[in-house]
């Protein structure tokens, strides 16, 4: 089918959700008091992207400091605060909520044929909880005591001793975790209770599967960090002996509890991204996904095994050798379900009629970046090499390739894929094609030299370095300019499209999951009559019927 332009004007038959309010208010009240999952998703989007920009600018400042050796721009203390903030903002405010809160909220109910999530009011509440947490985190920067300098990991004993606003920042993380839990509860209940007629578990789109698995991790992992954080706050406030070694506590136990959440959190970040990939690849290959059930199960497997591997963050902490070996072994097991996904995606493309539109190109760049991130993860998962590389730039490069190259890239891909559906406008395809190339170049310039510096011995979190690293640091800083420039470019053409873009059709890409059956942007409560699902999720023979609809 020919829809490469994607901008054929269509007569909008029904008022979209932008034009109808769920409550008696209009204007800003219609947004701030809405119970509509789509509006809440968009409210998350504006907040999350704002925080992402803040985090990116802090990252840019750090790179600027490292342009040349000597530490001329910031003091060591300022640099400590910068990397802590960069980590806290990017992890707690951007990557963890990112895809589930925005695209999960917007598309999960639509994709299963529901009018909304199971608990719409709770959904709005979790947005407010999220914003509260974010405000608390930002407040901790400006109060006397100064911005936190512990690193985002808050390791004991320094987090008990540091005079900076650690308690407030920890409380912010606690509040954000609460928001995450509420979203998880909402999504699990929605998937169990509100699937449309005929929408069996194995007819659900893979994005729903991935979000469902993620929601489970949010429910069963987040409470552990909540209590850990709470205990550190109590320890700081009342001098209760829990973790502080001066009172007999065990700092390694803190690390266990911290990573019991924070490792599964890595999968909270990456699983929804993998779900988006499983949506985009079949749509642009015009082929049903290869190994649907395997991909669905592999999401659950990743969620499960991901729960068993937290100890690989602690190889050099002094935990027992037996633990090191067990956790190393379990870590390698995660590669299996991840590999299942990668191979199934590639097999889906094989002999498909590929239409290289921007979302697809972003996914291609994801596959390269994420594979580099994943494979270097194996290097770190092996005990012997990890001892050499731990706390060096190698680790920094690895998790940026996985988190940013993986989840971050797919976040942008999802924006490109669903933008026409969410806003009813089409962005400039040529701009998007240029952006993906610039992004790929900038990204690799920024992070690849860190692998090299890492195995040369450059430690992470230093504001200064030996002259021998200068050329690599330079390339890296130049890359950061390209990358951040590209991100602003992307935001720019999206904003332009929002105001001036051409109208998008209801199905610009030729997708077949339920969101492409309804108009762009969707109406309030998504469907005029609730759909009855008869097809498999990626059955492209539907496209003919859809044209006649």
């Amino acid at each position: 089918m020919d829809n490469s332009s994607g901008v054929l004007p269509v007569e909008q038959v029904k008022k979209s959700f932008y034009q109808e309010s769920t409550n008696k208010y209009t204007g800003i009240g219609a947004w701030l008091l809405t119970k509509d999952h789509k509006r809440i998703g968009l409210m998350y989007m504006y907040a999350i992207i704002s925080f992402f920009v803040v985090g990116a600018i802090i990252g840019l400042l750090m790179r600027l400091e490292l342009l040349s050796p000597g530490g001329k721009l910031f003091s060591a203390q300022t640099y400590n605060s910068l990397f802590t903030l960069h980590g806290v903002i990017m992890i707690f405010l951007f990557i963890i909520p990112g895809i589930p809160a925005i695209f999960g909220n917007f598309f999960l109910p639509i994709q299963i044929g529901a009018r909304d999530v199971a608990f719409p009011r709770l959904n709005l509440l979790s947005w407010y909880v999220y914003i509260t947490g974010a405000i608390l985190a930002l407040t901790s920067l400006f109060l006397p005591g100064g911005p936190i300098d512990t690193g985002w990991t808050f390791y004991i004993p320094y987090s008990v001793r540091s005079g900076t606003n650690v308690s407030l920042a920890l409380f912010a993380a606690f509040v954000l975790g609460f928001s995450s839990i509420l979203t998880g509860i909402n999504f699990v209940t929605t998937v169990h209770r509100l699937r449309g007629k005929g929408m069996t578990f194995f007819k659900m789109p893979l994005f729903v599967w991935a979000t469902y698995a993620t929601a489970w991790i949010q429910i069963i992992a987040t409470p552990v960090i909540a209590i850990t954080i709470l205990l550190v706050i109590i320890e700081r406030a009342f001098g209760v002996g829990i973790f502080d070694p001066a009172l007999g506590g065990d700092p390694i136990l803190f690390q266990h509890l911290f990573w019991i959440y924070s490792h599964p959190a890595v999968y909270i970040m990456i699983l929804p991204a993998m779900g988006v990939v499983s949506e985009i690849i079949p749509t642009f290959s015009r082929r049903t996904i290869f190994g649907y059930k395997q991909i669905a199960y592999s999401s659950l497997a990743i969620a499960f095994i991901g729960y068993l591997v937290w100890g690989h963050h602690m190889f050099s902490s002094g935990q027992s050798d037996l633990s090191n070996m067990i956790f190393s072994l379990l870590t390698f097991l995660v590669a299996l379900p991840s590999g299942v996904k990668i191979f199934n995606w590639v097999a889906t493309m094989y002999k498909g009629s590929i239409d290289p539109q921007p979302p697809f190109l972003w996914v291609m760049s994801f596959i390269v970046l994420f594979s580099i991130g994943g494979l270097t993860g194996l290097v770190l998962g092996s005990l012997a090499t990890d001892i050499h590389l731990t706390d060096t730039y190698f680790v920094v490069a690895h998790f940026h390739y996985v988190m940013f190259g993986g989840t971050g890239t797919i976040f942008i891909a999802a924006m490109h894929y669903w933008f026409p559906k969410m806003f009813g406008k089409m962005y400039n395809i040529k701009c998007a094609n240029v952006a993906v190339v610039l992004y790929f170049i900038g990204f690799n310039m920024l992070y690849f030299p860190k692998f090299i510096m890492g195995y040369m011995g450059m430690p992470r979190r230093y504001y200064n370095y030996l002259p021998m690293y200068t050329p690599y640091q330079r390339i890296s800083t130049y890359g950061s300019w390209i990358l951040v420039g590209t991100i602003f470019f992307i935001i720019g053409y999206f904003v332009y499209a929002y105001y001036r873009g051409k109208k998008a059709t209801s199905n610009p890409w030729g997708g077949v999951t339920l969101e492409w059956h309804i108009q762009s942007p969707p109406i309030m409560e998504n469907f005029e009559t609730l759909p009855v699902i008869t097809h498999d999720p990626y059955d492209f023979s539907q496209l003919k019927e859809m044209k006649n609809e």
Binding site: V224, L253, G311, Q319, S320, L322, S323, I326, F327
Partner: protein, 93 residues
């Protein structure tokens, strides 16, 4: 309306309550006797029996949707995993 409605009578609840009090009496009495290393084990066993009573009868899980039992098993397994893997470190450090 709740799909599987199974109302439990007052009598059942009172019987369960008496059983819970009885187990409390047993566990307090046993705590006074020195059983060495089994003390903790027995105390936890009795606590487990008591919580099984509360979960099954008071909290109705025995009569509710089967999926709730699966959820319960999932959260129980999670706690078990956390304990086992942490103690692999603590016991062999």
């Amino acid at each position: 309306m709740s799909g599987n409605k199974h109302h439990i009578g007052y009598g059942t609840y009172v019987i369960v309550w008496i059983a819970l009090l009885a187990f409390t009496a047993i566990t307090v009495t046993i705590a006074g006797v020195s059983l060495g290393r089994y003390t903790l084990f027995i105390a936890l066993l009795i606590a487990a029996i008591k919580s099984a009573l509360v979960i099954n009868i008071f909290m109705h899980i025995k009569f509710d949707e089967p999926i709730f039992k699966i959820f319960l098993a999932l959260s129980g397994t999670t706690i078990l995993i956390i304990f086992v893997l942490t103690f692999v470190d603590i016991l062999y450090r």
